[in-house]
Symmetry: C2
Subunit: 457 residues, 2 copies
Amino acid sequence: MEQIKVFLNEDEMPRQWYNIAADLPHPMPPPVGPDGKPIGPEMLAPVFPMNLIEQEVSTQRWIDIPEEVLQILWQWRPSPLCRALRLEQALGTPAKIYYKNEGVSAPGSHKPNTAVPQAYYNKVAGIKRITTETGAGQWGSSLAMACQMFGIECKVYMVRISFDQKPFRKMMMQTWGATCIASPSNTTNAGRAILAQDPNTPGSLAIAISEAIEDAVTSKNTRYALGSVLNHVLLHQTIIGLEAKKQFAKIGIYPDVIIGCAGGGSNFAGMAFPFLADKIAGKKNPRVIAVEPSACPKMTRGVFAYDSGDVAMMTPLLPMYSLGHTFVPQPIHAGGLRYHGMAPLVSHTLREGLIEAQAIPQLECYKAAVLFAKTEGFIPAPETSHAIAMAIREANRAKEEGKAKVIALNWSGHGIMDLSGYQAYFDGKLSDYNLTEAEIQKAEDCLKGLPKPPPLK
Amino acid sequence: MEQIKVFLNEDEMPRQWYNIAADLPHPMPPPVGPDGKPIGPEMLAPVFPMNLIEQEVSTQRWIDIPEEVLQILWQWRPSPLCRALRLEQALGTPAKIYYKNEGVSAPGSHKPNTAVPQAYYNKVAGIKRITTETGAGQWGSSLAMACQMFGIECKVYMVRISFDQKPFRKMMMQTWGATCIASPSNTTNAGRAILAQDPNTPGSLAIAISEAIEDAVTSKNTRYALGSVLNHVLLHQTIIGLEAKKQFAKIGIYPDVIIGCAGGGSNFAGMAFPFLADKIAGKKNPRVIAVEPSACPKMTRGVFAYDSGDVAMMTPLLPMYSLGHTFVPQPIHAGGLRYHGMAPLVSHTLREGLIEAQAIPQLECYKAAVLFAKTEGFIPAPETSHAIAMAIREANRAKEEGKAKVIALNWSGHGIMDLSGYQAYFDGKLSDYNLTEAEIQKAEDCLKGLPKPPPLK
């Protein structure tokens, strides 16, 4: 019988994170202020604790995972690498499809991989309270759990459309002792300003980030935590790809194609970067594909620019593919992919030609998700369905070409708290959305007055 | 650092189920008809396929798990055995607490361990369609998934109050291709009769069973499937305890106390019976505790009697601890424990003195569940919280006695689709309930006219 799963024991789990900044062919442009001048670490100190800022700017290749963090990660890690054998059979493909199941964590996704170390480093720095934003709720609930474990208070600003669609996520955060409110709220200046313009706004991550940062910088002993985009977040997620490499090595396989969905970029980077190390070193040459929704296509239709991470421009300007910080994407069900910008490190690897980007429309993703659930059992998150849809495209291509390639995807989370999206799909209430030229123009206009990143050299 | 998890690889997973019927000190009384005469296998043939009926009456000690079943079980099995180290630390106990995490399956509980083989054996027998009932939805969704994997049509009668309160479970079943309707429905005689009496009835498991059986016996190529209580269901669940024994052996430990929550009895039996084999053989002497809710205390306050599995008395009479088939438990949140009777095999081991039974009130269970979630991350199902509450009682006793005993509990499922129960708990809307003497008297009256099982001999 075919082997379905590859486990690692705890003593085989990586003890260090991989920092791709050490290996980039060209240096990445630094974050800058509105004047175009680089932001120093001390300017971030009101927002993040200094130990995390040091990780953010580090170019050290390997960074030790603290023992206190390992002990908690072990509650669900190492996560299994699974063969989607029944999906392969349903597709009739000669390709082998493997998925790294990050849905086994308590909140149900990869997010606690960084929530736990972030809470830990805040604890070490003496911080008593952390604020954050959340889209679909995966990040907010993960940070709630992590803060609980280190005795830190946690406040989550949840994008209103998700807050309304997903009441269970709020209950989950409450169970882990956190407070969760809908964003925009009337508890911050940023929230009140948006509500004054449009009282019925569905909200966006960019708005929620503004609220959470404002709360952090104006409250005592409080810092802010971000669930994606930043270098240190992507660093913490590399445990996914480091484990996957060990698991593939155990069965004597190196994947030909590596796939992850990309919202802010962290689950994709976590899976991809350890494999990119081999690609940069010239040892291996896998195709590495970041998949975004057609309704929020920053990598395939956005602009590489310096842009702000939030609508109120409270963050430094980051060099990234963006649709502009004022962009409000359609309310597609993959809430975790509704962010206007792409992580600088992911944007940089795309510029470097190390990875490629693909946009897939919502209906194809749900179709893929349902086929996955019917063959493999596990019901994927709407975000994850983008990676599955891409894997199915690749598996079908392998069939046409008669090639037995190995496809590896990061199964970033389960969808059993997102079943209303499936219901809407079955009821025929969902549709695809492609950005209009006017929206693209608006993105370009939004970015026009900002400093420009230098060309690659 | 302390080891947190014990994995088994696929090739270490048991290839046979353990049948405790082969080792019982005294023979178990057979199922009988209303006349007190034993029911022959052929009388069950309209309800179940003959290969499952053969398992139901088998006294063979080991029964092979078919390869087609193994290949699907591997999608989530072997499940991890985890040390609840942070819970131990929070309790300050010298005891070690281990939990077998059955929440890792796609529907989130132990139920697919039997849903998959039941669907398989029906498929082998040429059955095209399976009907069942579901209360909280764990069983219905597990059978939906299993039927999907074998290309069998699945129809689930879901207790109306749960159908209305838990729409996500229905969406899950639909995602796996099953049809789920509210019970009582107007599609069966049993349902129509109840609706004629009370069009606004919230329904009950007993009514839903009557509808599902009527549908099965009156439809072409259709059989019925039950998610607990019966011998073959408990047999399939023994994979839990067989794996746990191997995992404990790997770390050189044999547990002193083994705990499971008990509704129909299947998750408890699945964990406990493989350990009871050692106890019966005189090799080991663990305490084995079945935990029931104080609001539905059939083992601690019910009667050992021949009783029917449903209110319409469509099933044979089974020898079991019961509160009477007319018993309507309070609407506590652990829906899976709201059944009037206990599996005959579990009832028999209780009579034999091999196990003990304890009843725990709801609020103590939620308190235990929240402590577990805050320390271990994973949010338990309300049913599972009963096992956790018992483990905490034992851990606290170990602390008083200064004994470093090892406690093993079956963590039967996660509660992330049951968060409304947690919300009600946090909102102070839940209360405890103890049966009145009048209710106990009513149970005895209900059972009075039925045949009596013989004494142990």
